[in-house]
């Protein structure tokens, strides 16, 4: 049954079961992903999916349930599940439902032209990626990823207070990864891109970058342990930002899980750093006119010239702090409870091109990849210790590739230590949520473990 009909049924059944306010958050999506291996389509996955998240108040507390099939069994399961869960809640947090607003911003994130790109054209593109990667360097031994995907999704939210909004978004992503082999040594390099304009997908350019990077890492060696001045490439900065994004959440602050507690209005970063959350970005991967609670979204500086301006709020945390929601309520999926997350979240770019940054670095390390951010970084303390590789820079020039090192430091210190910001802002591909962006930047020092 249609989601609007289903909503009516659930609300009806909920009223009969004694539930108070109720809310439906539904997502319907269409996906296609294609991977080519040795000139053949190796994987072709298509899906049409839907899901409904339900939350309801019973005896003052909120319970959740979700289902993926919109049938009578699910109506019953959602109502009974949410009711049972409401009854075990101890938390005294006051949860408010949103009745809807007069005005919502206009946001463009659906490109009908992208939808028209045929599966055949996508297969051709993926084949091209593999071909171009092999063509880029004769030492390419394997192209282990040549993939492209498309996704469109519609989010729909409605509650018993009268809120009813929906929004559609689409986008495509691509990933290429190649192995370059020389004298029994293997190095890999990869590139990804997310966009909802098909013209942004240039197979040759992407393959060349991936292969070029792998080749540039051949004969890498470790460096002497010690402190180094470091240039973090834009994608590494992005990884840091994504890993530590939770420290800006008011929820983490209120629960004592963010060291930014009590720091509003203080200088928490170098004056060069401005951090923006922009849900209205045209064609952004996380652009949306309303958040996970139906609140209208808006653009704001989270850090302006080094000063912490705001935490990210949903209705619950805003009420607790006596402020307005910043429109950052999130539903990671229809299965998730309401949390907080940034939308299109990026560090404002500076003036210097990448080459100029390398010259500016003088001597030090360029880090182009870090590994293990999910385990080697602690968002609570800000401490990190991560596997890394990149290049050694001497006299403003790349001297040689470096691998088998770790970099260690603290995220909050790193924000203070920013000495220069590049102009090369780029948003992430899939796996990075696509919604985090950063330029490359130079930091005063990080502890490097090597030899």
């Amino acid at each position: 049954m249609d989601v609007r009909q289903f909503k009516d049924k659930v609300f009806q059944a909920g009223r009969e079961a004694g539930l108070e306010e109720m809310e439906i958050y539904a997502v319907s999506s269409k996906d296609l992903s294609i991977r080519v291996f040795q000139k053949e389509v190796d994987d072709y996955t298509l899906s049409v999916g839907q899901g409904v998240g339900f939350r309801a108040r019973f005896a003052g507390k909120i319970g959740y349930a979700y289902a993926e099939t919109l049938d009578e069994d699910s109506v019953y399961m959602l109502v009974e599940g949410a009711k049972a869960n409401a009854q075990i809640i101890d938390s005294e947090d006051e949860i408010v439902f949103f009745a809807g607003a007069e005005d919502y911003p206009t946001v463009k994130a659906y490109n009908p032209e992208l939808e028209q790109v045929t599966p055949e054209a996508k297969i051709e593109y993926a084949k091209e990626l593999e071909k171009e990667a092999f063509a880029a360097d004769e030492r390419v031994s394997l192209v282990n990823w040549a993939a492209v995907g498309y996704r469109e999704a519609e989010a729909y939210i409605a509650n018993t207070l009268g809120l009813e909004q929906s929004f559609s978004r689409n986008g495509a992503y691509t990933y290429v990864s190649a192995l370059v082999k020389e004298n029994e040594q293997v190095k890999s390099g990869g590139r990804s891109r997310y966009s909802n304009s098909w013209a942004d997908f240039n197979a040759r350019e992407l393959a060349k970058e991936a292969v070029g990077e792998a080749a540039s890492l051949l004969n890498a060696d470790t460096v002497k342990s010690g402190e180094y001045r470091v240039l973090l490439r834009y994608d590494v900065v992005r990884t840091f930002l994504a890993t530590f994004a939770s420290v800006f959440s008011a929820e983490a602050v209120q629960k004592g899980l963010s060291l930014l507690a009590g720091k509003l209005g203080e200088q928490i970063a170098s004056p060069l750093v401005t951090l923006i959350d922009d849900p209205l970005l045209e064609n952004g991967a996380a652009s949306t006119p309303f958040d996970g609670e139906g609140v209208p979204t808006r653009t704001k500086d989270v850090i302006a010239a080094g000063e912490l301006k705001t935490y990210l709020h949903n209705l619950k945390t805003a009420k607790k702090d006596g402020v307005e929601s910043t429109g950052n309520a999130s539903r990671a999926s229809f299965k998730s409870t309401v949390g907080i997350s940034p939308t299109n979240f990026y560090i404002k770019p500076g003036e210097l091109g990448y080459e100029e940054l390398v010259r500016e670095l003088g001597s030090g390390l360029i880090i182009i990849s870090v590994q293990g951010a999910h385990s080697g970084a602690n968002p609570v303390s800000g401490d990190f210790s991560l596997g890394a590789y990149g290049y050694l820079v001497e006299d403003g020039k790349i001297a040689r590739p470096v691998d088998q090192i770790t970099i260690a430091g603290n995220f909050f210190q790193l924000l203070q230590d920013v000495e220069a910001i590049g102009s090369d802002l780029e948003f992430g591909g899939p796996g990075m949520g696509g919604n985090v962006g950063a330029p490359s930047l130079i930091v005063t020092k990080l502890a490097v473990a090597g030899n």
Binding site: E40, V41, D42, D43, Y44, T45, L46, S47, V48, G49, G63, Y64, A65, Y66, A67, E68, T69, M77, G81, A84, N85, A86, Q87, I88, I89, D90, S91, E92, L142, L179, V186, K187, S188, T222, S225, G226, K255, L257, K335, T337, Q371, G372, H374, S375, G376, V380, D383, S385, L386, G387, Q404, I405, T406, I407, A408, G409, A447, A449, G450, N451
Partner: protein
């Protein structure tokens, strides 16, 4: 779940454009998750995951499609849409389904769906209290409760028709210790392929106190010295090192494409001769066990490395085709939303001869990683990284002091060759492993082992 008539029709529709094999995977899963912070239940979610995945092969090509709508009409439509990605004429004319019975070796006594939410919360409170009252430096305790009841139905064009039910239960305990501005957290996550009777078999309080102990020890610890030196990795969750650094490279997913350092090395020495390693999905009630894998093959014990020699890989049907080898019962997927591929189940280094005490007593200087955090690996190069969640410095045969913030990096193939002592105290720990076919429960394990040299990353200069 689906009638034989519908299954046959959908499989034949999937094979209409020249596919040589088709499969239906249907799932109806009920799950519960409850989270508690500082002794208060914050959230409870009940969910139902439901859908069908249809897979078609044509030689080495694979097409996958999934949907939540399981009406005959929609399944036929999805099967034909998937088939449209292939081009050719029909090869398979008819299908005769044979229902297969599987031996259920993972008995479940207390189905979680029949246990009330309040009883589940009671277990959480026990864990919370034990951790919170352990020490004054414990500043926060977060407990998560999970249970999953997955019913699957698998049928394919070779006539297989089988169903299975997997019930899993797990408790997550996260203890945070604070000292001034500093915080350190420690996690324990006991889980089994069984029902609510898990909580009669494990000592929830003791596990919670162990987490609290770990967090308190680490918040009071100095930073680990960086450099290259010997590392002793303790048993149980320490096996994550083998899982990440070697296990992923032994999955057919990487081997079949030559994207693994272990490709083409069967019969060769890849590890020190005191190392034997196994993947075994048939251990009753273990976290990563299943009666059958997600392609319907029986799970079994697969020897990966025996006395240092590479003996076998973990192989799914499609990669088995590519490699010309038989599947090994390792095909797994998070849900119907993923095509299955070769994955680990319960993977561990087998017990050796030394005792843990002997290993420590015989070591002049080393990092003793009592508890590993997570890690990741690039299977193509074997380069890995791990966080050490709880570490100590061993000096002159004795544990000297706790250290924190250490990271281990290296290449799996190097580390395997550098293992020079293997303990007798094999134990396993539970994890969620993320890869191509989603996030799945997997046991890691090993006895205490010693590695002659690893690169230890940390914030402090070498001693």
């Amino acid at each position: 779940m689906l009638s034989e008539r519908i299954v046959t029709d959908v499989l034949l529709a999937a094979l209409s454009t020249g596919g040589d094999f088709a499969e239906i995977f249907m799932e109806d899963t009920y799950n519960t998750s409850i989270s508690m912070i500082d002794g208060k239940v914050e959230q409870g979610v009940n969910g139902r995951d439901y859908g069908v995945g249809i897979r078609i092969y044509q030689g080495f090509r694979s097409v996958y499609a999934y949907t939540n709508n399981t009406s005959r009409e929609n399944l036929m439509k999805v099967a034909l849409e998937a088939a449209a990605a292939l081009a050719g004429s029909r090869q398979v004319q008819s299908i005769v389904l044979n229902r297969m019975c599987v031996e259920k070796f993972n008995p479940v006594r207390l189905e979680p769906q029949r246990v009330g939410q309040k009883e589940k919360v009671e277990v959480m409170k026990r864990a919370h209290n034990a951790a919170a009252n352990f020490h004054e430096q414990i500043s926060q305790v977060a407990i998560t409760y999970l249970d999953v009841d997955q019913s699957v139905f698998i049928a394919n064009s070779e006539g297989l028709m089988v169903d299975d039910r997997r019930i899993r239960t797990r408790l997550g305990i996260n203890a945070v210790a604070s000292k001034g501005n500093e915080k350190q957290s420690a996690f324990r996550g006991p889980g089994r392929h069984m029902g609510f009777e898990l909580y009669e078999q494990i000592d929830v309080e003791e596990i919670a106190r162990d987490a609290a102990q770990s967090a308190v020890t680490m918040v009071n610890a100095d930073y680990a010295p960086s450099g290259k030196y010997p590392v002793i990795i303790d048993n149980e969750f320490g096996g994550v090192i083998f899982h990440e650094a070697c296990g992923h490279g032994l999955e057919a997913t990487s081997v079949a494409k030559g994207a693994s350092v272990f490709a083409g090395k069967l019969g060769q020495k890849v590890a020190s001769e005191i190392v034997t390693a196994v993947d075994d999905g048939s251990i009753p009630n273990a976290w990563g066990s299943q009666n059958i894998d997600d392609e319907g093959f029986k799970t079994r014990r697969n020897v990966l490395i025996e006395n240092g020699i590479l003996k076998g890989y973990m192989i799914d049907r499609l990669n088995g085709r590519r490699m010309g080898m038989e599947p090994t019962g390792n095909s797994r997927r998070q849900s119907y939303k993923y095509a299955p591929t070769s994955r680990m189940t319960n993977t561990f280094i087998c017990a050796g001869e030394s005792t843990k005490e002997e290993i420590i007593a015989n070591t002049e200087y080393a990092l003793f990683a009592r508890r590993m955090g997570g890690g990741s690996v690039n299977p193509a190069t074997g380069e890995f990284n791990f966080a050490v969640a709880e570490g100590y410095i061993v000096r002159n045969g004795k544990i000297e002091k706790p250290v924190r913030g250490a990271t281990l990096i290296g290449k799996g193939s190097d580390v395997l060759l550098k293992i020079d002592m293997v303990g007798s105290n094999l134990a396993t720990g539970q994890g969620m492993c993320g890869s191509l076919s989603g996030s799945i429960p997997a046991d890691v394990g090993q006895p205490t082992i010693r590695v002659t040299e690893m690169t230890v990353g940390g914030r402090k200069e070498a001693e």
